[in-house]
């Protein structure tokens, strides 16, 4: 396979960034949810 280095770099940066970003958003949201009363986190019951 040609350009293997570029391929690995491109895909790993792409998927890696999305994973790290997604993880950080989920973590921040989890931390934020601690400070909000359960009844004000309204989408949870609405979607479930």
């Amino acid at each position: 396979m040609t350009h293997l280095g570029y391929l690995i770099a491109g895909w790993s940066i792409g998927l890696g960034t999305l994973a790290v970003y997604g993880w950080s958003v989920a973590r921040r949201a989890k931390a934020a949810a601690r400070h909000v009363p359960a009844d004000r986190r309204r989408w949870m019951s609405a979607n479930d």
Binding site: M1, G10, W11, A19, W23, A26, A29, R40, R41, N47
Partner: protein, 275 residues
């Protein structure tokens, strides 16, 4: 996102502060399953391109990410217009979440495009290319948008001004695109590659799959980011309720002080005044 994807509804207990819902958990599972499938298609099932050789495999992530960038910024513009129209916090939050996810996707568009351009065009960056320069300017416009949003301000003021910035940013896209196109109309981009009929069915399918998978990631991120922003505003409101109670308590203590303890003279020493 893996942690959320793995969490099943049964494990969600009262002490669980995860912001996932059944929808996002299903989406998470789908993403975890489909990413390896996409990788299989992108690296194993499809053939190398005649001219780009194996570098074409980068396009299976680059193109969907680029498309979703424009979706995200369009969503910011829609949210901004809807906010100014309806003045609802929901739309402001949509615009904010879309802009942040959009900046991440826009950055990835630039990076993956650059990595693809190096072996293909033999350059990391090409000033003459319309889409490259447009995307870079767009990136900077929305980095500015996020910078503005991160400044502490009264929420309503910030929402209104951010909406204007978001709309102007979106208006700017076609203007920048036009001007760059005129500037150097020798674009290096394979403008016809999707339409000139030389593509194999499998290549086309992989592109489609890439759009679906990255679209799912995009939606998951958008929803989760929206919920984060929503929670942050709820915290703010909750803080306001507490502050209001404290403030009201002051009015009972403050009666005697109000009548007796007034300071003669200066008007500068009033902390209730505008800062």
């Amino acid at each position: 996102m893996s942690s959320v994807g793995a969490a099943s509804p049964q494990t969600a207990q009262a002490a669980d502060y995860s912001v996932s819902s059944r929808g996002t958990r299903l989406l998470g599972v789908f993403i975890l399953v489909s990413v390896p499938v996409l990788l299989l298609f992108a690296f194993v099932f499809t053939e190398a391109d005649d001219t780009m050789e194996d570098a074409v495999r980068l396009l299976y992530i680059h193109v969907p990410v680029a498309v979703l960038t424009y979706v995200a910024f369009s969503l910011t513009a829609v949210g901004s217009v809807a906010y100014l129209w309806k003045r609802s916090r929901w739309w402001d939050t949509v615009a904010h979440a879309a802009a942040e996810v959009g900046v991440v996707f826009c950055g990835l568009t630039l990076v993956t495009g650059s990595i693809w351009g190096r072996p293909t065009w033999n350059t990391w960056w090409e000033w003459g290319d319309v889409r490259l320069v447009t995307t870079l300017v767009l990136f900077l416009v929305f980095v500015g948008y996020l910078a503005f949003r991160s400044v502490p301000a009264e929420p309503e003021t910030r929402a209104k001004r951010a909406a204007v910035i978001g709309i102007i940013g979106a208006i700017n896209i076609p203007i920048v695109n036009r001007s760059v196109e005129w500037w150097e109309n020798n674009t290096l981009h394979q403008q016809s590659s999707l339409t000139d009929g030389q593509l194999e069915d499998l290549t086309l399918f992989t592109w489609f799959l890439g759009t679906v998978v990255l679209g799912a990631i995009f939606v998951w991120l958008l929803i989760t980011r929206f919920r984060l922003a929503w929670l942050e505003e709820e915290i703010d409101r909750h803080g306001l309720v507490t502050a209001l109670e404290e403030r009201r308590a002051e009015s009972h203590v403050g009666v005697e002080a109000a009548v007796g303890g007034s300071v003669v003279g200066g008007f500068q020493d009033n902390p209730g005044g505008p800062q």
